[in-house]
């Protein structure tokens, strides 16, 4: 049984007098411990799918099964409980967190809200989470806005794993990081996956990273699945028009100086 099974998902927006179909009859699955990437140009629907899967927005049609349950039918306490298993990391953790909070507060919230650790136990759990993502425990009292972007993204990952999720949605989670930091965060994500068997829904516009990190990829175009399959097979030989355009547009290290043409 798949960890996540999405069938015929559709989301329309009304903009002015027009209806925009942001996600159009999309179906896919994710297995435990697997990384599925969603890639595509701006407006292709990849972030809308992420928000639908997280139930930050509701679909117009379709079905989402998560850990064997009808995820769209969950309400109230049942939904909150299940959300502990489905976490998220966004592109900009400064926008995702209360900027006045401390690192400890950001990690304390999920432990408290989901009843994972008692008040007395939480400082030790927070220290362990920080250590798990490669941060020093003495970072805990620092304010979120004081630490570096790479440290903040590690805190975001620590927050996501605090509730013991089986799936983390990573929406452009490494896109805003310096390349030297990006490599370390990717290593951390891979380590967590192999240790905890966490699955990732990895949303990215960067085909190089997708190819290196994901097991499978779905290429989206205008809300529809244009192509899907093994990440390396798809990116090495794209069959769809959007796949070929994305591959052609990916920046490549050029070894010789090109003349203007």
């Amino acid at each position: 049984m798949s960890l996540l099974a999405v069938s015929n998902l559709t989301k329309r927006y009304r903009r002015g007098g027009n209806t925009v179909i942001a996600v159009d009859d999309v179906s896919f699955y994710i297995e435990p411990g697997e990384t599925l990437a969603l890639a595509g140009p701006s407006g292709s629907g990849k972030s809308t799918i992420a928000r639908l899967v997280l139930r930050l927005i509701e679909p117009d049609a379709g079905r989402i099964e998560f850990e064997g349950n009808d995820f769209l039918a969950l309400r109230g306490a049942m939904l909150r409980a299940r959300r502990a298993r489905l976490q998220m990391v966004f592109q900009d953790p400064l926008a995702a967190f209360n900027p006045r909070a401390t690192v400890a507060r950001v990690l304390d919230d999920p432990l408290r809200i989901h009843g994972i650790a008692s008040r007395a136990e939480r400082p030790r759990r927070i220290a362990a989470l920080l250590e798990r993502v490669g941060l020093a425990a003495d970072l805990a009292p620092r304010a979120i806005h004081e630490i570096s972007g790479g440290q903040r993204q590690r805190v975001a990952i620590a927050r996501a794993i605090a509730t013991g999720p089986s799936l983390i949605v990573l929406d452009e989670a490494v896109s805003a990081l310096d390349v030297s930091v990006r490599g370390q965060i990717l290593d951390l994500l891979l380590d967590l996956q192999s240790q905890e068997r966490i699955a990732y829904l990895f949303i990215s516009h960067d085909l190089g990273v997708v190819r290196a990190l994901a097991h499978r990829v779905i290429l989206l175009d205008a809300g529809r699945i244009a192509e899907s399959g093994d990440a390396r097979a798809v990116i090495d030989a794209p069959q769809s028009a959007i796949g070929r355009a994305l591959v052609a547009a990916a920046p490549r290290l050029k070894r010789t100086t090109q003349d203007a043409s």
Binding site: S180, L190, L207, P251
Partner: protein, 265 residues
């Protein structure tokens, strides 16, 4: 190989919370007339401060030592006329309540002494040159009616409206998706060649820089650590940091990070 701009021992210091922070330290660099020069670096490298210093856009609170000379001209360059500047985010750099046509025409009218009707005609020609679909109706459009890529085309049209010698693009494609980024890079390349402009291309993306630039300057912590032709920088970098930046690029030919054997175990 004459220098369009000669930067000598440039140091720029910002004041932040009562402390002085050096954003650039003792930078000496020639920008050769007609070249495409990329300046690359990570956050805090000083690359954007260099662009702002050259364009004369540093905040008044910054302290500047050293000098920038413009050997080919008897006067300091004027932003808009001699230097065109394209910023990262056109939804911020364009005026949201002014039509696209007027924003471009205003540059031409201010710096070229054209009448409004001449300036609008020039704006229409520029919109055609940056390949905006339907230039006639785009003249009367507001920025919010355009896509991100189209807005950046408008910003480029405004930047080159007065025929500047130097075009500075500061992370001008970083907010765009990969396909639009490639289109904008191709557009910049074509316009620079057609008008004989010098290009200063500021980017965090070393691969993108190698696709566009003839020379690359690598910045780190406010210092210029390496400068060379694109081929030298890519093939025989002298600095370990440059090598690390090259190694950190995850291209379409990179070895997979993933241990596939671990799945479903």
């Amino acid at each position: 190989m004459s220098a369009l701009a000669s930067i000598h021992d440039l140091t720029v210091t910002y004041r932040r919370d009562g402390n002085a922070v050096a954003a650039l330290r003792n930078i000496s660099l020639d920008i050769v007339a007609g070249e495409r020069l990329a300046v690359i670096g990570e956050s805090g490298s000083g690359k954007s401060t260099l662009a702002l210093a050259i364009a004369g856009l540093l905040p008044a609170s910054s302290a500047v030592c050293g000098r920038i000379e413009w050997p080919g001209s008897g006067r300091p360059p004027l932003l808009g006329r001699d230097i065109g500047f394209v910023f990262q985010d056109p939804s911020v750099s364009l005026d949201p309540v002014m039509t696209v046509g007027k924003q471009i025409a205003e540059v031409a009218r201010t710096h070229l002494g054209l009448t409004w009707s001449q300036a609008y005609a020039k704006a229409k020609t520029l919109l055609e040159r940056v390949r905006l679909p339907d230039p006639d109706s785009a003249l009367h459009a507001f920025p919010h009616q355009l896509s991100g890529g189209q807005k950046q085309r408008v910003a480029i049209a405004a930047a080159i409206a007065a025929g500047p010698k130097l075009l500075i693009a500061d992370e001008a494609t970083s907010a765009l998706d990969t396909i639009v980024q490639a289109e904008i890079v191709a557009l910049i390349r074509r316009l620079v060649a057609e008008d004989g402009m010098t290009l200063l291309f500021i980017s965090h993306d070393i691969a993108l820089a190698t696709e566009l630039a003839e020379r690359i300057a690598v910045f780190r912590h406010g210092q210029l650590i390496e400068l060379g032709t694109t081929a030298q920088i890519v093939s025989t970098p002298s600095q370990p940091y440059t090598r690390a930046l090259l190694d950190a690029h995850i291209g379409l030919d990179a070895a997979p990070l993933l241990n596939r054997a671990g799945l479903h175990a």
